[in-house]
Symmetry: C2
Amino acid sequence: MLSSPECLTCNLNSMLKTMREHGLSEKETERIFLEIFRQTAKMDFSLTPVEIGRILGKIVTGEMGIEDLFREEKVRSNDELLSIYDDLKKIIEKSENKLLTALKLSVAGNTIDVGPGHEININETMERVLKHDFAIDKFDLLLEELKNAKTLLYIGDNCGETVLDKLCIEYINVPEIVYVVRSEPTLNDVTMKEAKEIGMDSVAKVIEGTDGPGAILNESTDEFKYYFKNADVIISKGQGNFEGLSDLKRKIYFLLIAKCDVIAKYIGVEKGSFIVTTNSQ
Amino acid sequence: MLSSPECLTCNLNSMLKTMREHGLSEKETERIFLEIFRQTAKMDFSLTPVEIGRILGKIVTGEMGIEDLFREEKVRSNDELLSIYDDLKKIIEKSENKLLTALKLSVAGNTIDVGPGHEININETMERVLKHDFAIDKFDLLLEELKNAKTLLYIGDNCGETVLDKLCIEYINVPEIVYVVRSEPTLNDVTMKEAKEIGMDSVAKVIEGTDGPGAILNESTDEFKYYFKNADVIISKGQGNFEGLSDLKRKIYFLLIAKCDVIAKYIGVEKGSFIVTTNSQ
């Protein structure tokens, strides 16, 4: 999916917010911000949004000299989800189609508000997942393919959500499951560190993918490229991975919430829609 | 008032919105947008927000080849306010301090929603003006100064609001009143064309000031500079004029609503506050 002008302003707003939240001085913020403008002016719209986010994100972290800007937030959101893990598991166990419920929960991961002091209401969360009709619903196809798959490549996205991915993977009966994390800290995305902290390595083989806020095939590790080529089924979580992979000629199941106007328009759904789709059939 | 990084993103969002609203092709939008980035990268934060807005605005109108992007919106908002002009006048006439009420109404001008299909409720509007405490209230000083003034320079801002400026001026008893409009179309700001359409020239001498979305002294007409230097009292309406003039060593009464976080923080009030302030006493 190629970038729109809106992706540039969105990235800029996000970079500025990051600098503000980390209490950078006004002078430093101004200096880094103008550097971002200089770099952005050199870009063109043949890049995907996530490629732009990767380049600009590296400028900000490099200039700020902080490798992992969202480490605290990542730990907090994982901890909050882990604290309700067993309760969510009980709900899945009681449901008619366990895997489907687990997959739905993993899509809903993005909507759970894990802000500080925010009490997560499990019933409310579940209700929201069950109440929401998926704007595009290819669950049937996905479940069918998973039945016969020998290898599943499951590309993760944010922390918090990754705990629900782990829960979901517990219900996927595929011999080899490979879970992909970012190869460097980027936004609040899950890396090897957080994956191990939540015990993802007990349910899947965890590998590193891309060093940006979404999967970018030609910027990925060889291990990722290998599984991307050879896996029987690929599940891609979230918007960042969709942005980077949606135009590739490779069947992928995209599980995401369309969080911005650009993506919603591209897919042809309302903003905020829950989606399980695939780029070829 | 100097710019913050937020002023850059705000300007960019506004430029992009303008291009979208005018149905510019994706290719043209992308081309112009990257040009804006190139120009912005050359700037620094010694410019006021309105100076940045002026430069970027000229790029957009120049590249789009449309001189007056908001002409329809300007006419519509003026017409809507003119349609309730006599009713507002009646309310002023009934009030205890007519000039104060007229001034308050003119400040409130910015809050009146003149969107298409939006019915203006006079009572609601009046109630809002009367209910709102001004976060900074130098009305007493202003009224006192107006008593002895021989010349008043009244610097206008948006259309719609300009109709309330006219109503207000009817109640100002100063021998020479000079009303300032923009010297070129910029956003939905009032120019000579709209000022004449609403009959501003029947209550004041109308002159052109700056060709940007706020007063910038060194980019203004000689006539503006003359009155800026010599007027007994200066009233400056709105945020754009505040941005351009607030740091000058010249007593000015600023009547505005603090519409963004940057201005609110600069003035030291809550966002959305009604303000009548002056930069020296």
